[in-house]
């Protein structure tokens, strides 16, 4: 991994950090809006796990940048085009079915991704991944459970889950696409080549959907662009909420 610069690793780490912070923020929007108290607490626990994950990645990126950047400056002062999260994370939380299906698709991905990242030759990335794996196992247990309960639930819950799945499917392809930059890091043993995760992911998702009496979408549309900073119209609104305080009162501390 000698030919990989810390600037390159920083760019890669920021991608993973942005994925986590945006996913965590979307989940945090459920705080006090959960369908019932127990689920409200559980969802916000998961949100906190993702925000904790984002902090670890951002802190590492700040260390690599070594230019005065901090976790906060990355999260709160960059604009849309500088965020490189995958699009699936930024879609509005929708109804509870949408949140459940997205979480499930992301968890099946995230667990496999972190298992691979554990083998990274970058020891910090491997350490963050080892911590994240345990969380992801629990997240997946929860989200898979909701897939089965609501997919194979009432006619209404099944309809909502199927609609969410159809709506999300086109955003899942991007999860497995690595650009040249990521591939070069993967070849150097630092990054994960996500295309290698697809088969296992698809098998797991198919099994769950079948059990949940949901049908895998067959339409071919797909959307991409997150890694280049080309986002849906939703990210700007998310950031205006997430970044409000630092934008209104720059440098404010608790």
């Amino acid at each position: 991994m000698s030919e990989i610069s810390s600037e390159q690793i920083k760019e890669y780490v920021l991608r993973l950090a942005d994925d986590a912070v945006v996913q965590g923020h979307r989940l945090s929007e459920w705080c006090s809006h959960g369908p019932f108290l127990e689920e409200d607490l559980a969802l916000t626990n998961v949100a906190l796990d993702f925000i904790g994950r984002a902090r670890m990645f951002y802190a590492y990126a700040a260390k690599l940048a070594d230019d005065g950047s901090t976790e906060d400056s990355f999260a709160y002062t960059r604009d849309c085009r500088e965020f490189t999260n995958l699009l699936i994370h930024e879609l509005p939380r929708g109804d509870f079915a949408f949140t459940c299906v997205r979480q499930y698709l992301v968890d099946e991905y995230s667990l496999r991704f972190m298992e691979e990242l554990c083998n990274s030759e970058d020891p910090t990335l491997a350490a963050i991944a080892a911590k994240a794996i345990k969380e992801s196992r629990y997240h997946l247990r929860r989200s898979r459970d909701w897939m089965l309960r609501l997919g194979d639930g009432t006619a209404e819950s099944n309809r909502r889950m199927q609609e969410a799945l159809n709506e999300l499917w086109g955003y899942t392809h991007e999860l497995f696409e690595a650009d040249r930059f990521e591939l070069s890091l993967a070849n150097a043993g630092v990054a994960v080549d996500p295309s290698l995760l697809r088969n296992e992911w698809l098998t797991a998702v198919s099994t769950t959907c079948e059990e949940a009496t949901l049908s895998l979408p067959t339409e071919n549309w797909s959307v991409r662009g997150g890694r280049e900073g080309i986002h849906t119209e939703h990210l700007g609104h998310l950031l205006s909420d997430l970044q409000f305080l630092q934008r209104a009162y720059p440098g404010l501390e608790w």
């Binding site: 127990e38 559980a42 929860r142």
Partner: protein, 94 residues
């Protein structure tokens, strides 16, 4: 919250060697879900190493009305209490 949800009582053991203590209750569809919610609701600050959940309806509880017949007859039997023994200082829990 759906009407079908059941109430569960939650017991947490905070350390190895200690016993499970009742910490509260929660609603869930079934025992498996109750266990997960118990983890999220009652062990968020590392309170436990083991969780039990029991459907509240499975618990048979004594009633206020039972007090007289259950407990009053014990009031005049001090010889059943080990109060007259001196405990060594090393014994904390008796």
């Amino acid at each position: 919250m759906s009407e079908a949800m059941k109430l569960f009582e939650v017991f947490i053991r905070s350390k190895r060697g200690l016993d499970h203590k009742h910490v509260g209750s929660l609603h869930a569809e079934d025992a498996a879900q109750a266990l997960e919610y118990a983890r999220d609701v009652y062990t968020r600050r590392s309170e436990g190493v083991s969780i039990w959940v029991v459907e509240s309806s499975m618990i048979t509880a004594s009633q206020e009305d039972d007090c007289e017949s259950f407990y009053d007859p014990l009031d005049d039997k001090p010889y059943r209490h080990a109060t007259h023994y001196q405990l060594p200082e090393a014994v904390n829990n008796m």
